[in-house]
Every structure is written in C-alpha cells, then in structure tokens.
Symmetry: C2
Subunit: 490 residues, 2 copies
C-alpha cells in the first residue's frame, strides 16, 4: 500500500450504516467527536462541541415553539426531597429503582434527596401554592434541564445514558377536555419541530396500559425508527389526569365557586435522544449529514492553491467567509495543513451540508463550486448569486432529508397477520402493524408472548388517527379491538 | 380607609431601596414573582418565569461573546468521581466542605460521587486525553450549567443559594503569557457584557493570596456594590498556571519537540448572581427597573376604556401589539380586569421599561402616550414614529441606567488614611481605598484586624490599572506596597 492510499483510508469513513449500524454509530461518535465515553463514571458521557452546538439549536427550536404556545420558562432545583417523591404511589414505584440519592453534604449526613429523574414531584409541590383560581388556568411552565436515571439496561451515548438533556413541560387545566387538547398540542409540537424541521418522522402511539408513564392516566409516545429496525421513543406526552393534583393538593376555585382539583399533562422532549435519531436517520456511509437548519457549520470553504498563490487564495477565502457570515450563515474556512482531498473527506464525515471550493479559476471566473453533502454532487454558482444559492440549497437539502426519511419510514411499516409474519417483518428491520385483542390489562398476556418469543413489544395504537381492526387478534385469535404496532426497541 | 385606597395600597410597592435594602430585596422577589423560597429543601429556591426569562437573555449575551472569542460549548456530567476531585491538593481542601455527595442509586450503594461545585476536575480528566500538540492550543471550552455548594453562610435567593446557575469556561495555552492574556480577555468580557450591556459597574480586583480560588496561581474577582454598601463578587477569572495540568497530566508536544504542561485559566460568570446585582442596582422605590435589552416584556400596552368602547379599544391594542411584536420587540397587552391605575403600578413594580397607554383619544389623534419607567415620565409619540421611538427610548433608558450606576459606583469609592476613616466610610455604605502593606501572605495579619474589628475584607488591588501607594500601610504603618479596596461583602 503506498503512502497516499494509507492516508486517504485514514480520512475516509466508509462504514455501511444499514449493514453495520451499531459499528457505524459507535465509530461516528468517536470520529466526528460528538461524545467521549472515557469519562470515569459508568453511564456518564461527555458531550463535545460538535454535538452540543446542534443540541443547543434543537433546544432553541423547541423552546420557541413551547413559548409560542404559552409556556413560560422556569428553573426548579435538581434535588427532590424523598417525601415529595413518595406522594404519588405509582410514580414512586416506577422511578425509585432508578433514582440517584444525595445523602451527604461536606462532612454531614443529610436527609436523603433524589437527583431528579423527572420533576413532577418538584413542580407540583409549588403548583399547590401558586394555583388558586380558574383565572390562573391554564398554567403552563417548562424547564430545560438535565435529569439522572440509574439505568440498568446497557447505556449508549445519546440513546440512553445516566444523565440526559431534555425539556419538561408541566401544564394544568380546569377540565379533562382542555388537558386532552394539550396532549394533542404536544404531539403537534413534536410534529412541527422534530418532523418538519429536523426531518425525523414518527408515529404518535398511545401506549398499552402496562407501558404508560407511572402516575399517568395514559401516555402517548412518539416512535421513530433507527437504521437497525429498532424503534426509539421520542417526546412523550402524558395525561396525568388528577392523580398528581390529588396527591399534591393542587386545587382551584372554579367559576361556579366550587373547589376542584386541576387536570394535568406533562411533555418531555429529550434533546440528546432526538440527536441520536437525527444522526442515525440522516447519516450515510460517509458519515454524518446534518440538516442545514441545525448544522454547527453550514458552509465550509476549502481553499485550492499551489505554493505560489496560497496567500492570495486564502485571503479570498477569508473575505468570502466574512461576507457569508454577515448573512447569519455559520461558515468557516479550513486553513489546516491537510490536503484538499483530506479536507473534503473530513467535512463530509462531519456532516457539513455545503462545501465551497475556491481556487484561482473560481476567483478569476467569479464562479464557485458548491458541493452538496447529501447527494454528493457539485454545482457551479455565479458569484453574485452565491448567498441566495446557499440558502436555497440549504432548504432543498433539508427537504430532501425529510422526504427520504419519510419514504423509508413509510416502507418500514408492514401489515402482519400471524406471529410468523411479525417475526419476518422484525427480521427485515421493520415495524409490524397488526390486529390485537386489547391494550388494557387483559391484553398483557398476548403482549408477553411477543416479548418472550420475538423480543419485541406492543408499542401502542395510533393517537393521531382512528384505525379499525381488520382481523382477529394476531396472537390469541379472539376479537381484535385495536390495531397495534409491534417493534423491537431501544 | 375606603375601599379604593385599600386596593391601591395593595398594588403599590413603595419601599425605600436605600434605607431598607434588605426588606426591599426580599419583598420585590416575592411581589414580582422572581423566586419562591417555599421549596422544601433548605437553601434551594425555585426561579420563576419573570427572572428566568431575563437570566436566559443574560446567558445568551455571555455565550455569544464567549463564542466570538473562540470558545465552544460542551456538556460535562454533573457528577465527579471522588478520585478526580482529590488530584489537586489545594482544590480539594477548599471545596470538600461544600460538596454534596451522591452515594446511592436505586437500592444500591455506589462509590461516592461529588455533585459538581465547579468542574475543573471533570474537564481536565478529559483534557489530558484530548490535548496532544501545540496545534491543539489554544483550547477553549465552556458550559452553561448549574452547580451545587453546601453553603453554610446564610443563603439568599440569587445572591447565594445551594444551587446556582452559571457558565464556566476552561482554557489551555502553551505559555504563561497567553494564559495571562486570556485572564485580561475574561475581564474584557465582563466589561463588555455585564457593564456595557447590563449597566453593572465593577472593579476588577486581584484578590489577596489568602482569598484566591483554591488551586489557582491568582484570582481576579469583579466586585460590584449593592445598595446596602456590601460588595458582591461577580465573574471571576483565575490563572491556574500549571497546577491542574500537572495534577491531571495535561501535556502537549511543543513546536520545539518537547513535552510540556499546558497553562490554564478558568472563568465563571454566575448568571443568577449577576441577576441579583441587576435588580438591586437598577431598581427603585417603586420596584424593579429592567434594562430594555433584558426585560421579559419590553413594552406593556394598557387599554383605557369606558364600558361603551371597551371592545374597540382592546381590539386596537391587540392590533398594535401584533405590529410592535413583528419588530422583534417583546410586547404584551394587559387585558385583565384590573383598573388602569392598578395596571400602571403593577407593571412599574415588575420593571417593564415602557408602557403604552391607548384610549379613544390616542386612537383618534394617532398619537400615543409612552411612559418611561426609570424616569417615570410620559411623552407623546406620533403613530408613525412609534417603533423608532420605542427603540430609541429603550436605548436611552439603558444608557441612563448605566450612567446612574456608574456615577453611584464612582461616588462609593473613598480614600481612607486610617482605620477610623475606613470605619466611617463603611458605615456610609461605601468602599474604602487605602494603602496596604502586602497582599501576599505577610499582609494577612493586617487583613485579620480589618476582618475582626470592622467586619470587612481586603478585596484586592486593581487588575486593570497600576495604582501606586500614596502613604504607609493604613493598619501596621509599615511601607505600603499596594493600594487596596476594603469593603463589607456578601
């Protein structure tokens, strides 16, 4: 192997995302410097600038949308007294095994405090003091926060770790109807941001009774699919009903003069998890592909020079960077000592949507070469149209990423009429859609069969549309009351 | 007392900030709903939307400035293994008494983890893996994060609590000179953001040896003054030298081929603390006064109507809100059932910079009444000039707040030639400037006298200018080597 080949092998990524997704995912995290797994506490990772810059933009999108909907931001403490935690019986039972406990301060032993695994029991303690009248409702707060859960399943960066980065919104209403309208609005937020902006398609699924959030009346999860066919739960929204308002005594005086308990919902987009879907769904065998609207660097400029014109070309590149930057486009010039080829591969692997190649010819002709990451094509752009072309190509790239993801997602859902068919569908890395007896407790036995024999789970029934069963229950053969989606999951 | 007076007494604030600052501060936090102290863990408070919206804007200002300087964002875990924590001897000695310890997970006992009180010992563990060559330097990361300290001094919301909200920047350089240049740049960031934008003046003071950050070569703190004459430490920057790089083995191969330890700095703007200064310095006897650039609502519209034209006026107000809102100005209409007078007092107390009063006359004349919060004056504005006038008045308000704060701050610093004079100056709620023997260890005895007899401390010597001593040491009478600033402090 000559020196040149060796070098370019080092810089190219070249792992089949579809065939070896697990290696692809681990390797891109390392190569693109998204996270470092060498932090010396098990299950905790360090998130590096290349992922954090994107996650910060994702936070922005979600927070603006929540604010537009009437939510206000707040900061609640990260520690929750055990007594709060124990107020809602199902909730404590569900979360206690996962709680990290703070028990000491300096040299003192203190009454133990839970590191929040989620903040219902912190927020609602105060809600009972703040909410007095129907005039205070609806009452909608959110916080961006990190939460901690002692996960016993294998941890994977972004997908599941013991500390993760999310937003939690906690809302109160005077009636169940209004609360249920909020649940629908939450799904709409997921649709508008995660799907429309980030290009991540999902199914909003009402979870079976045995799989709902502990303390909720019902849970609607959003399932996206990863390239290995496993689904990953994205933002979920919960109708809490009056379970917590009764436990925490959150009452209001209604228009009719009567004291009533509020109706509650909560919604939790996990930013670090959505990031996992983002890179997994849009990436390709050459590495990351970021949507233009989220990329840490949207345009990378690569100077093409000989020794004789290096200074001139680099100066032109810096000029151009300043011009593009003024248009609120995130842009950089690669002035490293790598060869142009190495730079091309590197920034492709990093997922930068657009690359400008600038050499003597480009400067003289006032025509630039623009490389488009997702389709890996070069186009020529006239100098004076550069800015508008960058914006246009950015939008088109985002549209294509979403369309491709949608197409793949649609093709991933296949009807099944028997356990064997479900198995075949799962083996093809897809989601099975089939008839099922019940998602109430009486269906749990059939679900257990699927769990044990196929290592998959009943993800739930569509929350956005009404689907009528078209056959008997695929497991027990009794009358089917629901159309459910079955998948392996993270 | 008739009903009307009773009502208006309920809505006016009217506490003398200068005479009763402590009551003013506690009361405004409650009345303006900035924080709630009733959370059931001692020393932990809940930050409510009216303060969080401002703190989020403060984060934005600081983060953009740090990024412009070449810092990149990252997220490090909130837990730090005890073994990391113990690597730098002085550091562990300084922080251990304040650390909250996580010792349990679910039902398991785990090796104890520190909840970060600051993140040197988390970051630098990884820095030793990331930094290899002089080409990797300068290396600059920051994170926005909450940190926890088991404070034994009395806690006060925003000023000192057991959980606070800050940014920490951790930088590495190849030489001491570059590191010291960063320390100066950090002070410049404080100047450009906290002083120029937020209008909070400060003195950058090199702390005496006995008061530096544990593990640092030296510390430069920023002292602002509160209305009660106590100074409050704002962003501090530390030259860490090679203390941590030696403890954590952060080495790089320099241009000369030799392996060297990096030179480090860290910088920590505490957002919740800057918020304390912001409200204390700009507020007045009627409540809060927010700078226009930070206000959660920049313009409040109050409709003035009779029963007969209520609908029409409110509709016009909503129209106007939509027009102003399109200009990226944060604006709202008060459609509550309160009287105009109550609304005026309420939004004055909340610190909204500008108020638009809209009645029949205003609509017919196309001339609006604009009330300016800090000077409490009304001006008339022509309809077509409204947007430009709002922006202009906003800028002028910010300029005035800064100028007034600067004037007060300048007047607060008084030269002292004896212990008695220092005492008199402190009693007048001011800062004493005087000659002092030494800020190295040999000066600590004189400092202790000031500490014990005057309950004040040597805050340090100016880091921005060189001040020559003009007399003997104010305490021991020996030759003075420094001009120091003495104050009571939070």
């Amino acid at each position: 192997m000559d020196k040149k080949t060796e070098k370019s092998e080092k810089v190219t990524f070249n792992i089949s995302k579809d065939k070896e997704f697990s290696s692809w995912f681990s390797e891109i995290i390392k190569r693109a410097e998204l996270a470092d797994l060498r932090y010396n506490v098990k299950g905790f990772v360090v998130f590096r600038p290349w992922s954090v810059t994107v996650m910060e933009k994702m936070y922005d999108f979600f927070e603006k949308e929540l604010q537009a909907q009437g939510h206000l931001p707040c900061y609640f403490p990260a520690v929750i007294p055990e007594e709060n935690f124990e107020k809602e019986a199902e909730h404590v039972e569900g979360f206690e095994p996962e709680v990290f406990w703070v028990t000491g301060a300096g040299e003192n032993k203190i009454k133990r405090l839970a590191l929040r695994p989620t903040s219902e029991t912190a927020f609602y303690q105060l809600y009972s003091l703040w909410i007095r009248s129907w005039k205070d409702l609806p009452f909608r707060l959110y916080q961006r926060a990190n939460v901690w859960r002692y996960e016993t399943k294998a941890t994977r960066p972004f997908i599941r770790s013991r500390e993760f980065y999310w937003i939690e919104a906690h809302d109160c209403f005077s009636t169940r109807e209004e609360a249920e309208r909020q649940v629908k609005e939450d799904i709409e937020v997921t649709e508008r941001i995660m799907h429309q902006k980030f290009g991540i398609p999902f199914l909003p699924l009402k979870r079976p009774e045995w799989d709902k959030f502990k303390g909720a009346v019902y849970t609607i999860g959003s399932d996206s699919i990863m390239p290995d066919g496993k689904v990953i739960q994205q933002p979920s929204t919960h109708l809490l009903g009056q379970n917590f308002s009764k436990a925490f005594d959150i009452r209001f005086r209604d228009k009719d003069g009567k004291e009533k308990f509020v109706w509650q919902t909560c919604y939790g987009p996990c930013i670090s998890r959505i990031f996992a879907s983002l890179i997994a769904i849009h990436g390709d065998d050459n590495g990351l592909v970021f949507p233009f609207c989220l990329a840490p660097i949207q345009v990378i400029i690569v100077p093409i020079f000989k020794k004789s014109n290096k200074e001139k070309i680099e100066k032109e590149c810096i000029n151009l960077r300043n011009i593009i930057s003024e248009e609120n486009i995130s842009v950089d010039v690669d002035l490293s000592e790598n060869t142009p080829g190495e730079k091309f591969y590197f920034w492709e692997m990093k997922g930068v949507p657009l690359r400008l190649e600038i050499g003597e010819k480009e400067i003289n002709d006032k025509k630039f070469t623009l490389f488009i990451r997702d389709i890996r094509k070069k186009i020529k752009v006239e100098g004076k149209k550069l800015i508008s072309e960058i914006k246009k190509q950015g939008e088109e790239l985002d549209r294509r990423l979403k369309e491709n993801a949608d197409k793949n997602f649609k093709n991933s859902i296949v009807d099944a009429y028997s356990k064997k068919e479900i198995e075949e569908i799962l083996n093809k890395k897809k989601i099975a859609r089939c008839n099922f007896c019940s998602i109430s407790d009486e269906g749990e036995k059939c679900a257990e069969i699927i769990e044990k024999e196929l290592l998959a789970s009943i993800r739930g029934v569509r929350a956005d549309i009404d689907e009528k069963p078209f056959d008997k229950c695929v497991i027990c053969g009794k009358d089917a009351n629901f159309v459910v989606y079955i998948a392996k999951s993270y």
